[in-house]
Amino acid sequence: MAVIRDVMPAFDLLQPNSAAEAQKLLQQNDDVWVMAGGLDSFDWLKDRIKKPKVLVDLSGVEELKGIRATSDGPRPSLEIGAMTTLTEIANHPAIQKDYGVLAQAVSLVASPQIRNQGTLGGNVSQDVRCWYYRGGWPCYRAGGNICYADTPVGRNREHAIFGANRCVAVHPSDSVPALIVLDAKFVVQTAKGEQVVDVEDYFVGPEADITRINMLRPGDLLTAIRIPATWGGAKFYFEKVRDRNVWDFPLMNVASAIKLNGNTVDQIRIAVNAASPRPMRLKAVEDAVRGKPANTETSEMAGKLAVEGAVPLQFNGYKIPLMRNLVKRAVVGVTQPPMNGAMAANAAAEEATCRS
């Protein structure tokens, strides 16, 4: 599709100073678009695929920014404002120390400039990246009655191997699997009041509602992400696989949190994204691994179990061995992290961030 280099079509811009005000504006206006960092929004608006009448810009709402400790003690639970930038999260000492999987996940998002502007609320609420949908094709997700990606000639290399239901696009967020393994809660302000939901329940699969990617209805606002102390200091693993090391969305990513008892897996949470339209928590794998020794045999079993029932499309069969290997590493990699070049560089950079 041709890229249009021009000023976007006109919209009304509203810039509230508080969350309550923002919510009021969302409820008062029809055809309104909520903007956090704007990186996802501007693609839609610049390409003229979505043309909202009103844009509510949350960048002036200070109360939605920042990271607060919500309990005492050496390992406090945290509340992260939805408008906190990814750079701030990646560099936050408490997150690096106790919830490192989140710091690592957000430091692998897109590019430095995007992380300086993109927010955690925006990252978890972004729309899918299927190019047919993004290009304005009238697919199921856009309200039509066809999927252009799931045809014999459809370009579906990046698409789903699980959970497809008419739509085969995948959820593209890197931060979500990390939040799932940390057992985070999302705080959503709705017309009926505040709702606190588990990460998995925030997302809506195409089988439930194909035109929505999360639970937000018009007028709703995600205000904060709470991280309980439950998994603080656990052994974490995060890996993102992508075509190029900057900008790219994941072909697949994996996050795990493990508590060992001696050499036995006592507790485990493991999640994968970019494999299905909804971020996946691998409960069957967790159940199978719990109580087993943390060794190669267990991880082999976990990898095989993870991809059971996968349905590849024409061009994304590679995602099955990819997922099998990622899950394998996420289970055993906790004790022996494999390092490829990019990850080593990233680890070096992170070390540098800690030093400075």
Binding site: P9, F11, L13, G38, S111, Q113, A345
Partner: protein
Amino acid sequence: MPEADGPKANQNPSKSITRRRFILGVIAGGAVVGAASYRILAPGRGRSFGGERLITLNVNGQPRRVEVMKQEMLAWTLRYKLGLTGTKLGCDRAECGACTVLIDDVPRYSCSVLTNTVRGRKVTTIEGLAADDGTLHPVQQAVVDAQGFQCAFCMSGFIMATVGFLKTHPVPTRTELAHGISGNLCRCQDYNKILDAMMLGAENMRNAVPAAEKARS
């Protein structure tokens, strides 16, 4: 349904809907008045409720009065309203880095920042790096000395990203610097020479600080 006027019309449901609509209209009108008064009474953060048409931007240390559209991007304002054409527009989709500027000393893609969102914040473009007497910024001087770029369309973006990164990481290794300015693309594929120049720039900056202190004493 035809408009009913008689006394019986009070029993007509369509009439009561009309009345409800009327009341809703009054409430909406009140909200508009309320919003308007809010605009005047907005607290002193320099931000009002909605996007404005005539705004003051702090660009390179100078207040610049400029008329903008609500949907206007910062790169557009800088280039076409303020004449600061050193900032380049490459992809216009946050995918190349040519439009990088510093907002409150943090590198951001100016093609993806609404001008109205940086009212009251400090914008620095490539034009704002050199000293008033024309002395180049240490990183700019390094680019000249090391001939860092080939066609140099991406240069101002790279320099702004480097200057921003060096503010938080004054002593980077080559790998760290590469990671720090990885949000910029060069189509000439001149990355090695760019990194040479930027490493020299980092060194220049470290040397420039004691020199400036010496000059002052």
